[in-house]
């Protein structure tokens, strides 16, 4: 190991720390580097020495710059459940934030898929067939309600026939 000037050791260490802490907000990064720098100065003062060995000991006890920066980054705060709900809400807003016909289809798909009265095959065929038609949302989601009242509607026919395959659909 080549001997390096103690100041160079400290400067190198602080440079590594600043680099490792680059992801932090700038004021926290600056503060962290300043605090570690002050610590090194105090520690050397307390040791009564500033030579190579003393500096190496102080830096050794401090730990690696990467470790310190990682501690500053810290674990994510907040309960996992709260974050999960937020993500779900965001996805829903994204899904519904589109143009209305697409939204209508999307909502219809969700409702169809959520319905346990239809088998998987009928559900997917309902979604696909509804997709090809206009005002499909109204038909696919309301088909069970309007089935009896609107037997002549073209779109409702395909959904109705699939809906009728399951008992107790009403």
């Amino acid at each position: 190991m080549t001997t390096r000037h103690p100041d160079a050791l400290v400067a190198d260490y602080l440079r590594r720390l600043a680099a490792a802490a680059a992801a932090l907000p700038p004021d926290r990064q600056t503060e962290l580097v300043a605090e570690i720098q002050a610590h090194i100065a105090e520690a050397l003062e307390a040791a009564g020495a500033a030579a190579d060995v003393a500096v190496r000991n102080v830096l050794e006890r401090l730990g690696s710059p990467e470790e310190i920066a990682a501690a500053a980054a810290g674990p994510p705060t907040g309960p996992p459940q709260a974050r999960g709900k937020l993500e779900i809400a965001a996805l829903l807003v994204l899904a519904l934030g589109g143009v209305l016909p697409i939204v209508g289809w999307a909502v219809g798909v969700v409702l169809v898929l959520a319905s346990e009265a239809w088998s998987c095959a009928t559900r997917s065929s309902a979604c696909c067939s509804a997709c090809c038609r206009r005002s499909s949302w109204w038909r696919s989601s309301s088909c069970r309600r309007i089935r009896a009242s609107s037997p002549t509607r073209r779109g409702a026919a395909s959904v109705r026939s699939s809906g009728s395959s399951s008992p107790g659909a009403l």
């Binding site: 605090e35 002050a38 520690a43 710059p65 470790e67 501690a71 810290g74």
Partner: protein, 124 residues
């Protein structure tokens, strides 16, 4: 069901250390305000508590952000001004809560560990 490996005890204890060190910092501030280096030195004198001294500074920063401690700068005879840490009311309350919970937890674990230990001694 996964079986415990030798490393698990070390891992558990290192997690315990990480979880409790902030309350140890609060405890050190119970009776007086102290500056950063002083706190770090006091912690490192307790065996096996702190592995990397530098990580105490991010911890202090977090305690400040969480309003468990406040700081003030004081002139120092030896060199540049020092940042002194002091408990807030919230910090004091958090420390009191933890102390109560910790005593219960520590006593419970000790009871089981010591009992098991005695059992082993009698059996052998």
């Amino acid at each position: 069901m996964r079986y415990m490996e030798h490393g698990d005890a070390r891992n558990t204890l290192s997690q315990l250390r990480r979880g409790t060190v902030e309350y140890c910092v609060l405890a050190l501030l119970r009776d007086e305000e102290r500056y950063g280096f002083d706190l770090v030195r006091a912690l490192s004198q307790v065996d096996g508590l702190v592995m990397s001294e530098g990580t105490i500074y991010p911890l202090l920063s977090r305690l400040r952000r969480e309003h468990l401690v406040t700081t003030s700068w004081r002139e120092s005879a030896a060199g540049p001004p020092r940042r002194y840490y002091r408990l807030t009311e919230a910090g004091r309350a958090a420390l009191a809560d933890f102390t109560k919970e910790w005593s219960r937890f520590r006593d419970a674990v000790d009871t089981l560990l010591i009992k098991e230990n005695d059992h082993d001694h009698q059996a052998s």
